[in-house]
């Protein structure tokens, strides 16, 4: 593997999970979740706390990461989002409410790091998690394990959405909330499950990202534009689009920075986050509804020489 690829893979799978979380919560509850930033940071700190206090590999603590992320999502739903959804609040209001929640969580994370510093004499403000990793085939093991975990998690999610009765009900609510409600689906529970899964996904993604980058209390706050960029690149319409968008954004950042820095010199490194955002801006200019808005059927039809409307 080329040097950028291993950390790029780790980072991109983390971004894929967080962007997927943003998309999942958006398509179920119309809420653009700002709190995904702090959820990701919380995921990282849970794995860090586990490794530093109880030892072992970071992977061991990922179940706890998911559980705590889910609890954070659950609190957000019951404390905040539920009341606003019942009130039929506007999209911007929903967005702002999660921003408020995110700021409260951010202050708690900062206090927690202060607490760790004082009580355990640690340095939790700049953490490189990958020193707790082991080597596999001459690479960091995380480059193989983390994408695998992400794929397993997403396969499980896919099975849940397509094979179980509740998953089908969830998809029905996403497609048409009114009709789903009329056929007896409890939308309240659907929203709750979306927040729980979304919280778990975001926290797991944050724990992944910390394996590729320096973990800080403002880590999530710093990369939240990229999580959103992933979700928007995916079109904010389908869960799989969001996951793909996050992955593309992550890989573009690492690959772009690597090749551009080789070509133009190291000053490019400072603008690393500009590269995926540029990609997002260009995509939005051409396809205002993201990757999902690319008329694939039409394009293939054109290539095959078919006329429009044949397969409609």
């Amino acid at each position: 593997m080329t040097p950028w690829m291993s950390s790029g893979l780790i980072y991109a799978s983390g971004l894929a999970l967080t962007a997927g979380s943003v998309t999942l919560i958006y398509i179920t509850t119309r809420t653009f979740n700002f709190a995904v930033a702090s959820m990701a940071t919380i995921g990282f700190y849970v794995s860090y706390t586990g490794v530093i206090l109880y030892g072992g590999l970071p992977y061991k603590y990922y179940p706890f990461v998911i559980i705590i992320g889910s609890i954070v999502g659950l609190i957000c739903y019951y404390g905040l989002n539920r009341h606003l959804l019942r009130r039929r609040a506007a999209e911007i209001t929903l967005m702002m409410s999660t921003l408020g929640y995110d700021l409260v969580l951010l202050s708690m994370i900062q206090m927690y790091t202060d607490f760790l510093t004082k009580t355990y004499k640690l340095f939790p403000r700049r953490v490189t998690m990958n020193i707790y990793d082991f080597e596999l085939f001459g690479e960091k093991a995380a480059a193989f394990i983390l994408p695998f975990i992400a794929i397993v998690f997403l396969m499980g999610l896919h099975m849940f959405l397509t094979k179980t009765k509740f998953g089908v009900a969830m998809r029905a609510t996403i497609e048409n909330p009114v009709l789903a409600g009329a056929s007896g689906i409890n939308s309240d529970r659907v929203y709750l499950v979306a927040w729980v899964i979304g919280g778990g996904m975001a926290a797991l993604g944050g724990a992944f990202i910390a394996m590729a980058q320096t973990g800080t209390p403002v880590m999530g706050m710093f990369i939240i534009p990229l999580m959103f960029a992933g979700a928007i690149l995916g079109g904010l319409g389908s869960l799989y689009g969001g996951i793909l968008g996050g992955f593309v954004i992550g890989m573009t950042e690492y690959a772009g920075v690597f090749y551009l820095a080789q070509r133009f010199g190291p000053w490019v490194l400072g603008y690393r986050m500009g590269i995926p955002l540029m990609l997002m801006a260009i995509t939005l200019l051409i396809f205002p509804r993201g990757l999902a808005g690319i008329p694939l059927v039409k394009l293939f039809g054109l290539l095959a020489g078919k006329k429009r409307g044949v397969n409609a």
């Binding site: 958006y26 202050s107 004082k118 603008y271």
Partner: protein
């Protein structure tokens, strides 16, 4: 007819009562701070208030009146700050024969050049005034330019897309500021010539007066603007863009104009902040301070109500300062476990946003529904008909 009028006056009284109550709370807090800490802290609060009032009113023009979810307020503020930090000082350096290219921003040169410019400014009040006006003009022009530039790809997008694109643009300018050493020194702060040095001992008071005057002018300007036909078309587009389009309003043009005006005003705010502090540190301009704080102010005050925004800014600025001042006194129990009470600032910001959304959805002073014409003119028109 009389009962209806009676009800309207009742509602009006109630609204006025709310404003008066908020003002009373503010005054009480101010007197408390004044008696316990003295004048300097009051002046600091006033400066904070005036600068954030300008920025928040510009945000209110875009979000409250036009309905653009402006999550990238920091972009225009940064551009205004950098313009004031880089351009007027360079012009002065050029005329005085100092290096004014990229090397102006390097800390070794900047350290020597800026005090000499400041000394020259302090010798001549006309020059000082000219420098101040030049700085603000440069800030406003570059802010307007950036607003126009940002609006090009973004303005046609829908709600959430628009908000996130603006957020991304704001962050982009932040990174440019952190990394581009040639403009304002990247992560090393650059000093700014001080046009207020001529007042020597009274510098602080004069700055308060100047910034207050500018904030007041902005307030008057926005009040006039939002009551003009342009302001009415803004509100029409916010409430129902289809109807506005059907009535012949060009939505893209009107929204672009609103974005340009708002960005220019926010850039003036950023420029004044830089002139007050005396240096530009690009690290200091974060999304948290210059996008999310103004959002919290605006939501507390009442989206779409200028007077409410002013009250919201004042109240929160005081509370924020109080956390900073009394942190060891009131939150000493946190210090015992090593927690810095400064983080409570974020808790306050988040709690205000959540509390306002849940319990006060229209803010402290809700937007008043204004008739298209003033009431006495409506009466006159009706009387003329009969």
């Amino acid at each position: 007819m009389t009962t209806k009028n009676g009800m309207i006056t009742k509602i009006k009284d109630y609204m006025l009562l709310r404003e008066v109550m908020v003002i009373l709370v503010i005054l009480a807090l101010l007197t408390f701070l004044f008696t316990s800490r003295g004048v300097p802290i009051i002046l600091t609060i006033f400066i904070d208030f005036a600068i954030f009032a300008i920025i928040t009113m510009s945000l209110n023009l875009e979000t409250g009146y036009t309905g653009i979810p402006q999550f990238g307020r920091v972009a225009a503020v940064i551009v205004g700050a950098f313009a004031v930090g880089s351009i007027p000082g360079r012009i002065m350096a050029r005329f005085m024969g100092f290096p004014w290219g990229i090397e102006y921003a390097s800390d070794t040169v900047n350290f020597k050049v800026v005090p000499q410019i400041t000394a020259l400014l302090a010798s001549n009040w006309l020059l000082s005034l000219g420098f101040l006006v030049l700085s603000l003009t440069v800030a406003a022009l570059s802010g307007a330019a950036i607003g126009w530039l940002i609006s090009r790809p973004a303005i046609r997008l829908k709600e959430a897309y628009l908000g996130i694109s603006l957020l991304a643009f704001g962050d982009f300018f932040m990174w440019v500021g952190h990394n581009w050493k040639g403009m304002v020194g990247g992560s090393v702060p650059v000093n700014v010539p001080d046009p207020f040095r001529i007042f020597a001992g009274n510098r602080f008071t004069i700055i308060v007066l100047v910034i207050f005057t500018i904030a007041f002018l902005v307030f008057v300007f926005l009040n006039k603007l939002t009551k003009s036909p342009f302001g009415r078309s803004l509100r029409m587009i916010r409430d129902n863009d289809m109807a506005a389009a059907a009535a012949g309003k060009n939505i893209v043009t009107v929204r672009t104009r609103s974005l340009v005006i708002g960005s220019a005003l926010a850039a003036i705010g950023g420029g004044l902040y830089v002139l007050y502090v005396g240096s530009v540190a690009s690290i200091g301009f974060s999304r948290l301070t210059f996008t999310f704080w103004p959002w919290a102010f605006m939501m507390l005050g009442g989206i779409g109500s200028n007077i409410g925004v002013l009250l919201g800014v004042f109240l929160l600025c005081i509370l924020r300062t109080m956390i900073v001042i009394f942190r060891s006194q009131w939150f000493g129990f946190l210090l015992v476990v090593g927690i810095d009470p400064l983080w409570l600032e974020f808790t306050l910001m988040g709690a205000v946003i959540i509390g306002v959304i849940l319990f006060l959805p229209y803010g402290l002073v809700p937007e008043k529904i204004e008739p298209m014409l003033p009431a006495n003119r409506v009466k006159r028109v009706l009387a003329g008909r009969q």
